[in-house]
Symmetry: C2
Subunit: 374 residues, 2 copies
C-alpha cells in the first residue's frame, strides 16, 4: 500500500428477500450504519464508489453512483464499478487507488443488489452476463451449469465425492446461525445437502448460493484511523470465457491476485487467521483453497473436513459465506471485508483475507486486513 | 494532477450502426488502433478500464472488464466504470487515480456501446436507467422528454427561440463533415432542424443525439510520454432525479467540476482554445456554455451563433459533437478527449477541455488537455 488506509466504519442490511425495500432504501440503510459506526459525518465523505452488477436489468436503474450521491446532503462525486460478482472487491481496490492518489481522503464504498423482484428465469439470464455472451451463453449454459461442469471435472480429476462436497455448505450454514445479517440462519447437515434437488449434475440446490437482496457499505480513510488497516488490495483478470482456458479446475486470477497480495502485505499464508472466500457454489470454495495456496491441488476439501470436525487452522467464512449469508452479488465483496474485520476482532487475530471473484473466476479481488491492536 | 499523465495513444471505430460487429469486435478495433498509435506493446498495459453503460441490457453482457482483458495476451487486471453517458470521463478520471497512486503506470481506457441491435422502445427504456427509476421514470418520462421539459423551461426563462436552437445541431453537422469517424457526415441547415419531426416539444428529431454503436480507446501513461499532457481530471455529482433540484436550466455538477478543473490545471477560461461539450440534446449544449462559464446565464446560444457565423472564440465540438459524430454513450467521454487532442494539434493550441455528463447532468467529468508542443 502506498499509504495507510483504514477501515473506519461498516454497515450491512440483512441479506435476504426485501420486496418492500428499493435499491435506494437498501443503500441508505447500509450507508447510515457505516457512517454511524465510523463516527464521521456524511460531509466527511469525499467520494462514493458504488458496486453493483444487476440494477440495470432488475430495476432499470443504471447511474447508481448518482443515486448514492443523492443520499448524502453534499452530493459528493461518485462512480460505479462493476466486475460481476467481483464488483465489491474491485470497488474497494478502486477506492484504494483514489485514496493513495490523494484525490480522496475518505471514501464510502457501497455494494448493493436487488435480485428477488425478478423471476428465476430473468435473474438466471442476467447472471449469465458474468460469462461470455458470445462464447459461453449460446451453448445454453447457466452459472449452475458452468460450475456443474467444473465440479464434474474436478471430481473426475481428483476423486472428490458427493458426500465430501456436501460438507462445504453444511459448514457455511453452521457459521451463519450466529450472523444476524445472514439470509439463512439454520443448520444444514451434509446429508440434507446431498438430498437436495439436483440443479446441475453433480451440483444440488444446497451447493448453490441464493438469489439475494442486500447492501454492504464501508468507509475507508487515510486521515481517519481505526484498528483495522488495509495491508493489501490486489486484483487480477483472466479470460472471460471458460472455453479459452487450459483447465477449468483452477482459477489463475485467484492465484495471481494472491501472490500480489501476500507480497504487498509482506506476509505469508501462515500469518492469515481469518479468511472469507467466494463460495458461489460449493465446488468453488474447494478450488479456492487450492488456488489461494491453503491446500494442495485436489485437497481443498480437507480444510472443510477440518472445519466440520471443529479443528480448523483458521476462521473461514464465519458469516456463513455466500451460501448461507446470501449473495447480493456486488455487495458480497464488501460484506466479506466486514466479516474478516469481525473475525479478526473476535478472534484477536492480526491478519485476515477476503477473496472475491466474478463470473467463473475471470476477475479476482483480494484484500488483506490487519488488526493493528494485536 | 499528482503526477504527469500523458495521452500516448488513441483509437476509434467509426460511430454508427454496426450490426455485423460485436462488443468484442468494436473494442478490439479501438484498442488495436490505440496501441498502434501509442507505439506500445499490449504487454505495456498494466490495467484496463472499460466504460460501458448498456451492454447488460442490449447484449446480456456484464463483466465487460474481463471481456476486454481477454483481448490482450497477458490478461491485465481490468474493471468497468459506469456513470451513464458520463461513463467515459469517469473511466478516465479513475485511470488518473490508478496512475497517480502508482498502482499502474500505463492504463488502457476503452469505452464501448452497442445500441442499434435493440428496438427503439427497448433502448429508450434502457437509457432511462440514467435517470431515477423511482422518482423520474414512473411519470412516463423518456430522456427526450426530460430535455424537452428543460428546453421548454429555458425558453420561458430566457426567451431562446426555436430558430436559434436549431443553429446548434447545424454547427455540429457542419463539423462532422470532416470527421472520418462520424456517424452523420452531411450538412444540416437550421431550417432542416426546425422542420424535422417533433419528438418532445420543443425538441425535434435533429435536436437529439442518435442511437449509435462504437468504441473509443486511449492509452494514458506516467512512464511513456507524448506531447499531450492531462492538466486536470475532475468529477462531480448532483441529485440523480431532476425532481430534487431547485432549477432544471443549469447543471450544478458541471459548474462544480469546471471550477475544480480550472484550479487543478491552474488556468483560466481564456486559456482554453478547444472544447468538446456534451450535446446529448441541442439545449444541453446551450446550457453547458453557461455552466462552463463561457457565456452568461441565458446567453449560451451566442457562442453557437458565433460559430455559425464563422467567428468563434474557440474550437467547439470539432468532431461533430454527440449529435453528428454519434453517441455510443460510454464511448463518448473518451472520444471527446481524443477530439480535443486533435483540435489542439491541428490548431496548434495549448489547452483544450472535454466536458462529459451523465443523465440530466447528475454526473459530470471534465478533463483539461495540454499540448506541450505549444
Amino acid at each position: 500500500m502506498q499509504q495507510d488506509i483504514f477501515l473506519v466504519g461498516s454497515g450491512l442490511t440483512r441479506f435476504g428477500e426485501w420486496w418492500d425495500k428499493s435499491l435506494r432504501d437498501l443503500m441508505r440503510e447500509a450507508i447510515e450504519a457505516a457512517l454511524e459506526s465510523s463516527g464521521l459525518q456524511a460531509q466527511d465523505v469525499d467520494l462514493i464508489i458504488v458496486a453493483n452488477m444487476l440494477a440495470e436489468v432488475t430495476n432499470n436503474q443504471a447511474h447508481m453512483a448518482a443515486l448514492a450521491s443523492s443520499l448524502l446532503p453534499h452530493h459528493p462525486p461518485a462512480l460505479r464499478v462493476e466486475a460481476a460478482c467481483g464488483s465489491g472487491a474491485l470497488a474497494v481496490n478502486t477506492a484504494c487507488a483514489f485514496l493513495e492518489s490523494g484525490r480522496a481522503k475518505t471514501v464510502l464504498v457501497v455494494g448493493v443488489e436487488k435480485m428477488t423482484d425478478a423471476s428465476a428465469d430473468a435473474i438466471s439470464q442476467a447472471l449469465m452476463g458474468a460469462a461470455d455472451s458470445e462464447l459461453d451463453a449460446p451453448s445454453g449454459l447457466t452459472f449452475p451449469g458452468i460450475f456443474g461442469l467444473i465440479a464434474k471435472r474436478y471430481m473426475y480429476e481428483f476423486g472428490l465425492t458427493r458426500e465430501q462436497l456436501s460438507i462445504v455448505s453444511s459448514v457455511h450454514h453452521k457459521h451463519a446461525t450466529e450472523n444476524a445479517f445472514a439470509q439463512f440462519r439454520y443448520e444444514l447437515s451434509p446429508e440434507a445437502v446431498s438430498a437436495s434437488p439436483l440443479v446441475s449434475d453433480p451440483l444440488r440446490l444446497f451447493d448453490c448460493s441464493p438469489i439475494s437482496d442486500g447492501a454492504a457499505a464501508c468507509v475507508l480513510s487515510t486521515v481517519h484511523r481505526s484498528g483495522m488497516r488495509l495491508a493489501a488490495s490486489q486484483i487480477a483478470s483472466d479470460t472471460l470465457s471458460i472455453t479459452q482456458r487450459p483447465t477449468i479446475v483452477s482459477f489463475p486470477a485467484t492465484r495471481a491476485a494472491m501472490e500480489l497480495a501476500l507480497c504487498e502485505a509482506d506476509i505469508t499464508r501462515k500469518d492469515i487467521h481469518a479468511l472469507e472466500t467466494h463460495d458461489c457454489f460449493s465446488i468453488a470454495a474447494v478450488i479456492n483453497m487450492e488456488d489461494l495456496g491453503f491446500a494442495k491441488e485436489g485437497e481443498g476439501i480437507r480444510i472443510y473436513e477440518d472445519l466440520h470436525a471443529g479443528h480448523a487452522p483458521m476462521f473461514v467464512n464465519m458469516g456463513g459465506g455466500l451460501k448461507a449469508c446470501g449473495h447480493p452479488v456486488a455487495a458480497t465483496g464488501i460484506k466479506q471485508l466486514i466479516d474478516v474485520s469481525k473475525s479478526l476482532t473476535r478472534g484477536r487475530a492480526r491478519y485476515g483475507l477476503a477473496h472475491n471473484f466474478g463470473g467463473a473466476g475471470a476477475t479476482c479481488g483480494i484484500h488483506v486486513l490487519e488488526n493493528t491492536h494485536v
